[in-house]
């Protein structure tokens, strides 16, 4: 199956795919990790696997924020909202709403009467606080460096306006320590990285330099269009052929090499690194997540409220951890497409469109649909 006809420049796509075939060494097996969940979604949606030679394997990385959040954090956030001591409005992005906690997802809690609201922006959560002075509004913040600056600016505004009935339950994580943990993992052998697009608009390209310098692996920051991803693979293959390892920026039209300084300043004002944080599938990673600085303690939900601090292991049969690390492909999990589907997700990777399981599941359905149309014709 090829979706190539839908592409803007089918000819250039075909030529780039041919270029990839020219550059590969047929005797070699290549393993490239796309770090960002948006890339995983795009790769499956566009059927790019079908344009690539069989010896290029794309490994899906940890860049899906809801997927890497351990269930215990969801339970903790919902426990605050459920507490009978104080009425708390639980606000979060729509992506979070169907993610299973031990006693159900935020949406299921809402059905049981807990005050759970979807917001599209952290500033909407702050607005809810402004409009509902009798209630406490907690924003359950998730996301990498793409999203953290928006939470930071929102907190700066809450402080400037003196809005006290607002807090953030902070789950923001940082991408570099996760890449480091993957490279340190003994069961993971990678040849190169497709670097995240929108995280890099904030952090720029410099933070990846150690990957090239110390680990001798090429990393190419990539856009999200089919041609972007194919061109990034060409750039990686050219480096590998020349025996080079450097950071390159394929997504120059959006990503400045130095990142977004205003966004980095906002993050530095509000957040500091946690000594360690638990990631689903990757375990505890040191200095891999953000918490509010002391100067923002009044707006820190974890300090303001009693948080149980539970640790929950994933459902035993689900192999989310192995899939997240790229050790297993989604379809190799025992529950994939059987007990665990996008309609009834057991693990977070089946919830978000950026999760590799949901992305692969929808790709399979599209593939079957196309195949049946072709066989009918």
């Amino acid at each position: 199956m090829r979706f190539v006809d839908e592409f803007r420049d089918p000819e250039i796509i075909t030529k780039t795919a041919e270029e990839i075939r020219r550059l590969i060494d047929p005797a070699r097996h290549y393993r490239f990790m796309e770090v960002c969940g948006g890339h995983t979604h795009a790769i499956y949606r566009f059927g790019l696997k079908d344009l690539l030679p069989a010896n290029i394997e794309l490994i899906h990385g940890p860049g899906c924020p809801v997927c890497v959040l351990p269930m215990g954090r969801i339970d903790d956030g919902l426990a605050v909202a459920e507490s009978t001591d104080h009425p708390v409005m639980f606000t979060a992005f729509g992506d979070m709403m169907r993610v299973p906690g031990t006693h159900g997802s935020p949406l299921e809690h809402k059905a049981r009467g807990v005050d759970v609201r979807i917001v599209y922006s952290p500033s909407d959560a702050l607005k809810l606080a402004r409009c509902n002075p009798g209630k406490h509004v907690m924003f359950f913040a998730i996301g990498f460096e793409t999203t953290a600056p928006s939470t930071a600016l929102t907190l700066m505004r809450a402080k400037a306006e003196g809005i006290k009935n607002f807090s953030v339950f902070c789950n923001h994580v940082t991408i570099i320590p996760a890449i480091r943990a993957i490279l340190d993992s003994p069961d993971m052998r990678l040849d190169a990285f497709i670097g995240p697009g929108h995280v890099s608009t904030v952090i720029g390209c410099r933070p990846y330099e150690w990957i090239a310098r110390n680990e001798q692996k090429p990393i190419v920051v990539s856009g999200f269009e089919p041609l972007d991803l194919l061109q990034s693979i060409v750039m990686i293959l050219r480096q590998l052929r020349a025996g080079e390892a450097k950071v390159e920026n394929q997504y120059k039209r959006v990503v400045p090499w130095e990142g977004n300084r205003a966004a980095l300043r906002a993050m530095a004002e509000v957040f500091e690194l946690r000594p360690y944080f638990e990631w689903r599938g990757l375990g505890f990673i040191s200095q891999s997540a953000l918490r509010l600085r002391d100067s923002y303690a009044e707006w820190d939900a974890e300090l303001r409220f009693q948080v149980p601090g539970v640790r929950v292991t994933d459902p035993r049969a689900a192999q989310c951890g192995e899939v997240l690390k790229g050790v297993l492909k989604p379809a190799q999990c025992k529950l994939f497409g059987k007990e665990c589907t996008p309609e009834h997700p057991i693990g977070a990777l089946m919830v978000s469109t950026e999760g590799s399981c949901a992305a692969y599941h929808s790709y399979q359905l599209r593939k079957e649909a196309v195949t049946s149309i072709h066989s009918a014709a």
């Binding site: 979604h41 952290p122 996301g143």
Partner: protein, 101 residues
Amino acid sequence: MCLAIPGKIIDVLEGSPTLGTVEVVGVRRKVDLGLLQDDMPKPGDWVLIHVGFAMSKISEKDALEQMRTLAMLGEAEQAMHEVQGYGLEETGPTIVREKPH
């Protein structure tokens, strides 16, 4: 939520916070321009929007291509839903869907 939505700046409202009206496929909403304070966009510029904040300036050509990418990813409808959900208006009710007044 990694994907960004392209929008055209219609006006910039100086103040704190600095807000701007953007237009995304005919829908106008306020977004926060605070993350672009070092290189403030002007009316007519195009930006990429993420969770109600403009993140970066882009060319018109890239903005149109980004919208096309969202459509190809099956995300265009979701993106419009998100833009319509932004409640950052100075007046009018915020999104309280559960208890309409």
